[in-house]
Symmetry: C2
Subunit: 347 residues, 2 copies
Amino acid sequence: MHTIHDVARLAGVSIATVSAVLNKKGGVSAELTDRVEKALVALDYQPHQLARGLKARRTQTIGVVIPDLTNTFFAEVVRGAEDEARSRGYSLILCDSNEDGSMDRTNLDNLYARRVDGVLLSPSHVMSGLDRLSQRRFPIVFVDRIPPGFDGPAVVIDNFGGAYQATQHLISLGHTRIATIAGRQDFCNAIDRLEGFRKALQEADLPLHDEYLQRGDFQLESGYRSGLHLLRLPKPPTAIFSCSNKMTLGLMSAVTELGLRCPENVSVLGFDDFDWAANFSPRLTTVAQPTHEMGHQAMRMLLDEIQNREHGGNGNWNKKVMLKPELRIRNSTAPPGGSGPARASAS
Amino acid sequence: MHTIHDVARLAGVSIATVSAVLNKKGGVSAELTDRVEKALVALDYQPHQLARGLKARRTQTIGVVIPDLTNTFFAEVVRGAEDEARSRGYSLILCDSNEDGSMDRTNLDNLYARRVDGVLLSPSHVMSGLDRLSQRRFPIVFVDRIPPGFDGPAVVIDNFGGAYQATQHLISLGHTRIATIAGRQDFCNAIDRLEGFRKALQEADLPLHDEYLQRGDFQLESGYRSGLHLLRLPKPPTAIFSCSNKMTLGLMSAVTELGLRCPENVSVLGFDDFDWAANFSPRLTTVAQPTHEMGHQAMRMLLDEIQNREHGGNGNWNKKVMLKPELRIRNSTAPPGGSGPARASAS
DNA sequence: TTGAAAGCGCTACCAC
DNA sequence: GTGGTAGCGCTTTCAA
C-alpha cells in the first residue's frame, strides 16, 4: 500500500519527479530516473488508478450492460469486447440487467457514478430518455439490440438478410407450412428477423397464417410454450424458424415432450449458433452470428471515439457496423415428411 | 457533470451540508435538507464514486478473474456472483484470463491498481506468490479451482464425491471397461475427480489401465483428441467419464466422427450440466454443479469478510464452502452393448 | 532539470 | 446545526 510519496522519499526526489518517470514524460536525468526506478521496484509500487483518474478525468474503464450473461450469445460478445478493451488498456465493469428494463437505468446510473469512459449497451428494454444519456454522460455503442428508429452508433448483424436466407432454405426444402417464433418486437433485431421471414414467404407466394406467427420474448419458456402451441395445431407447421437460441431450446423441449422427432416430424431452424449444435442430434441448422466479432468491433468503435474526443473530436458520430450472419445447414432441417438427405442419426 | 459544489451553491449551503444529506448523516435541519434535496434533483446530481472511494478508501468494486467467460460454467458463476454483489451495492470488474496463467498475474495487478475491495478468483494457472497477494493486497476467495495444498477461503463442490458417484453409476450399468478424460492435474478439482473415479473402480475391483486414463486440459480440443484415441484402441472402453463440459463436447465430436453412437457403442458421462443437455440426443448424463450458487456463496463470503474487516476484523479467515453436485441420469449412459432402457432416439 | 503547490470531488473533523 | 478545511493519491502547471 505504498504511495508516490513513499517512492519519492526512498528515491530522495520529489513526487513530481516520480510522476514524470512513471508517465515517461522525459526531462528527468538518468541519475534520478535510475533512483526512482529502483525505488519503484523495491516498494513494488502500483499507481493508484482512481486517484490518477480523478485528476486525469478518465478511468480507463468501460461499462458493459447486457441482458443476460448466461446466454452464450452475450457471453461471447462480452468476451470479444474484453479482448479489445484489454489490449488497449481498458477494463470492463460488467452489468447484467437480467432482461429487466428498469435495471438498465440503474446500471447506467451506477456506471455514470463510476465515471466510466464509455458504455457498450445491449438493452433489456426500449428506453426513453436515452438521448439525454448518450449526450450528457458518455459515449454509448449499442450491440445487437437497438431501439427502432435509433440512429446512433451500433454494431448489429443483417437480421433481415439472415432470416430471409433461413426462410428461403426452408422453402427450398419444400416446406409450405412454415411457422416462426419471433422475438420481442420492441427491438430492431426481432423486427427485422420477422420481416425477413415475411419477405421470403411472400416472394414464394406462401401465406403466413396468424396462428403460425408466435410472439415470444427471447426466453426459453416462451419458445417452449410457442412450440407446444404450434405443434398441437390441427394443421401443425412442418417447419419452424425460431428467432433466438433460448427459444430454440424451449422449442426442442416441446418437440421432445410431444414425442415428435426433428426433422422427421418437424424441421427446426434457429437463430444463433452454439458449440454443441454440431455434435448432438439433431444437429441444428442455424443462422450463426459473429458474436466475438460483434463485441470486438463495438468496443473498437467505442474506444476510437473516446480517444477521438480526447483529441478534441466533437462527439458527432453515428457510425454503424452491420456484420453478416451465416446460415449453417445441418440436419434439423429436411424436406417435409421426413424423407430427404438430411436424416437424423437414426438408421 | 455537476459536482457537490454546484449542488451546494444552488441550495445555498456548504458542501459539508450536502455531503451530510447525501450520506444521511443526520443533524441537518428539515429546511436545509429539503433545499439540498431539491437541488440534487434539479441538477440530476450523481456523486463521483471515485472521489468518494479515494477518500473512503474503498471502491465498492470487486474484481472477478476467471479462465473463460464463454464456458457456460464460468458465465453462470459470474452471474451468481454479480447478483449477490449488486444487491449489496458492489460492482464487478470482469477479467477473463483466457486460460493463460500469466494473465492471472496481469489481471490481479490491474485490479490492485484499481483498488478493488476484494477478488473472486478462478485461476488459469497454479500461481506462486499468491500468499503475498492475498495478504498484502485484498481479500481473495477462490472458486472452483484451488491450488493443491491451498488452505484459504474457497467455494468448491465435492469433486471427489461427484466423480465417485458418476463412476458408480457406470459400474452399476455393468460397464467394466471404463475410461476417463481427466482435467489438468494442477488443480484440486481435476485431481479430486480423478481420485473419485479411481476409488469407485477400486472398490468394484475394476482395473484402471493406463491407456484408459487420458489427461486433458479442460479444453474442447483435448476432449476430442482423447476421445479419438480411446475409441480407436484395439479394446476401446464401453464407457467414458469426461471431467469437464468442453472436453465432453470434444468427445462427442470424436464419437460422431468415428460413426459411433452413444450410448449404443459407448456410454458418455460428463461433468457440468447444460441447458441443452436434456433436449438433444443423446440426452447427456451429467454431474451438475450448482454454478449460480457457487458464485453467489463465494461473493457472499467475500463481502462478509470485507465488511468484517471494515469493522475491525483481523483478516484471519479461511472459511471453506463445499457444495454438493448432483448426478443427472439421462440417456447417454446405458448398459454396455447397446441394450437397456436408455436408447437413443433412433427407432 | 527539479520541486512546490494547486487542485480533481469527496468525506470527516472540528470550530463556530 | 452548519460550514470551513484538511486531506485521499495523483497530475500538472509554474517557479526556481
